[in-house]
């Protein structure tokens, strides 16, 4: 569908028979006015800050405020991570982003059999309120914003944060930050689920309801495509499944009796910044348009705050290679640039050593510098949506939008996202795409520098961060002490109340807050709910 003529002769051969994006979507030789002929600028694209926000949610783009450079960090004990946060804040940071370890993410105490070797490895261990008090010791929660990557036990971790804030004398009504709290993508991709889908969705709607009354400035959910992409999906699948997850949360909120404009403005998104430059930019632009239309037309949202999709992005961990790790700096820079050109509201850049370990302080600093160079040296932040009007980018944006709505239809026909997940639909789609990509790499249809081309023997090793077992020993000792000093009867009483609330339909946040105040552990609180709801087990799809 292009007005540009085919080359007159085959005298100008091309490198391949056909060209595709990293997601396998076919790309034409050149794009021209015909490719965007169906688009009406003011209706389908519009100026920045205007519905449907293809060109961004702010009129002034980054000329007003640059994106937030929010680097995700956490390791070892709360004491160690508290030290890292104070360094970050001392260097001028205004926001924190907490990475928890796997026992915390899975609602297990450090002494559980499955926590063996995992304590403090992938993030910081937080077992009880005592750890949360240590994590934010000397940090005024009323003055900063904190993002916490926590899903299945989000209500418990959020309750701990609220109680620390309360003890510091901060007003919940003014607290600002984000909990990821996106369980659907856990079932679809990252697999850090505990409870079955339906009770999991209930916790989330309880958090929506609680926050709209008690903590109205808190971002209650960060609907995440990042992990869907890391699991091997295509860009289109990431876009479609993430936004359809968003629709599902809104639908469950509405079904629970909430008013759309009361809770939707506090929903934000989180996307991957992968390697196919223009495809990623089109993905972000399409995401804003889809959300605006769906909120206005499907849910009848009246407030433009409900229509505007805000998103965080992170460069693609899955694209990083252990081979020739310095190449990862370049990959990350290009990925970050695509997120910026796509109008991201905040960004995390990965470190060059992340295919090998958690980042060293030096590697993490270089990753942040990458963002600062894009922001201050490249000039790309000086004009809003500089690629708007590109025949290629506009056409790809439209294709992404259409493709996502086609997935919406399929999922709607299945009865919504929870039902689709129960049937394994998104899981199968992703497993298929992931295997297809791996095959393409194996057959060298897709080139990965340093992996299947330009391979180098005898690479010198680089220095990495090595996390030893001391964190585990310290957290185990602390847990033992805690169990001796807290009031056991109060712990039992609050856990009993949590169980009965779970059996009934009252909002779970108040009983969780009580259990947290009694220093019940994350494992105890999650076990109480496991007793009532059971645990989810997936049928693996390969």
């Amino acid at each position: 569908m292009t007005t540009v003529a085919e080359p007159a002769s085959k005298a100008l051969p091309e490198r391949a028979e056909s060209f595709t994006t990293i997601s396998g979507r076919r790309i034409e030789r050149v794009y021209a006015p015909d490719d965007v002929a169906g688009l009406d600028y003011s209706r389908d694209v519009a100026d920045p800050g205007r519905f449907p926000y293809v060109r961004g949610i702010h009129e002034t783009g980054y000329r007003g405020k640059l994106w937030t450079m929010r680097q995700f960090a956490g390791f070892g004990t709360p004491e160690e991570t508290n030290g890292r946060y104070k360094t970050l804040l001392g260097a001028g940071g205004t926001g924190l982003s907490v990475a928890f370890d796997l026992p915390t993410l899975m609602g297990r105490d450090p002494d559980h059999v499955l926590s063996l070797g995992e304590v403090g490895k992938c993030g910081v261990n937080v077992t009880s309120l005592a750890d949360m008090e240590t994590l934010f010791d000397g940090i005024a929660l009323g003055d900063i914003t904190t993002s916490m990557t926590i899903n299945s036990p989000a209500a418990m971790i959020f309750a701990m944060y609220l109680v620390v804030a309360e003890k510091q004398g901060a007003d919940w009504k003014k607290l600002s930050g984000t909990i990821q709290n996106d369980i659907l993508k856990e079932f679809i991709a990252q697999k850090e689920y505990i409870f079955p889908p339906r009770p999991s969705m209930r916790i989330i709607t309880d958090i929506f309801g609680f926050c709209s009354r008690e903590a109205p400035k808190w971002n209650t959910i960060s609907v995440s495509g990042y992990h869907i992409r890391e699991a091997g999906s295509t860009a289109l699948q990431e876009l479609a499944f993430t936004l359809r997850d968003g629709v599902e949360y809104v639908q469950w909120g509405v079904d629970a009796g909430l008013d759309v404009d009361d809770f939707v403005p506090r929903i934000s998104f989180f996307f991957n910044a992968h390697s196919d430059f223009f495809e990623e930019i089109a993905k972000y632009r399409a995401a804003r348009s889809i959300w605006a239309h769906v909120m206005r037309d499907r849910f009848g949202a009246k407030s433009d705050r409900s229509w505007k999709l805000r998103f965080h992005s992170q460069t693609a961990g899955v694209s990083l290679t252990a081979q020739q790790p310095y190449n990862n700096v370049v990959r990350t820079a290009l990925q970050a640039l695509s997120a910026v050109l796509g109008g991201t509201n905040s960004l995390h850049t990965n470190s060059l050593d992340e295919a090998l370990a958690l980042p060293t302080a030096e590697a993490a600093t270089l990753a942040l510098r990458t963002q600062q160079i894009i922001a201050h040296e490249s000039g790309v932040a000086n004009v809003v949506d500089p690629l708007g009007g590109s025949y290629f980018v506009e056409s790809l944006t439209k294709d992404m939008e259409d493709g996502a709505f086609a997935y919406f239809d399929t999922i709607d026909k299945m009865g919504g996202m929870v039902a689709a997940i129960e049937r394994g639909f998104p899981q199968k789609e992703i497993a298929e795409a992931s295997y297809r990509f791996q095959q393409a790499v194996e057959q060298k249809e897709k080139t990965i520098v340093g992996v299947n081309a330009y391979v180098q023997e005898d690479e010198p090793p680089i220095e990495i961060l090595y996390i030893d077992e001391r964190a585990s020993e310290k957290q185990l000792a602390k847990l033992e002490r805690l169990k001796k000093t807290r009031k056991t009867d109060q712990v039992h009483r609050t856990l009993d109340r949590l169980r009965s609330a779970a059996r009934a339909s009252e909002n779970l946040m108040p009983p969780i807050l009580d259990a947290v105040r009694a220093y019940a552990t994350i494992g105890e609180m999650c076990d109480a709910l496991r007793e009532v709801w059971g645990e989810y087990e997936e049928v693996p799809v390969i």
């Binding site: 252990a322 090793p461 390969i542």
Partner: protein, 134 residues
Amino acid sequence: MKKLRVVIAKPGLDGHDRGAKVIARALRDAGMEVIYTGLRQTPEQIVSAALQEDADVIGLSILSGAHNHIAPRLMELMKEKSLDDVLVVIGGIIPDVDIPKLKAIGVKGVFLPGTPMQEIIDFINVNARERSVR
């Protein structure tokens, strides 16, 4: 010739299963009999799966840093059950300094991110032979 039987397992609490699933499928396409255990398997569960399935190979996918706990426990249990001749390979995020330690306890192959599937298939075909012809 009898098909090689491979148990692919994801021990620990981590749920990032792209690697485990891709390798499971690649080994199956390469003509092996693949049993994927699913997530969050203890070393005890993995050894019992290997026994039940009469496995020639156990492949572990570990990205979280828990390999220094999981691999020694697994190797110990395998010894107890006289499964010493089962080939054990690990794929995932493994710091260089840990590789000699893993090899010393009997893990034969360690594969980092970006390893071509064919390399893993070839490694298994070469190293798992002896047991399968017993």
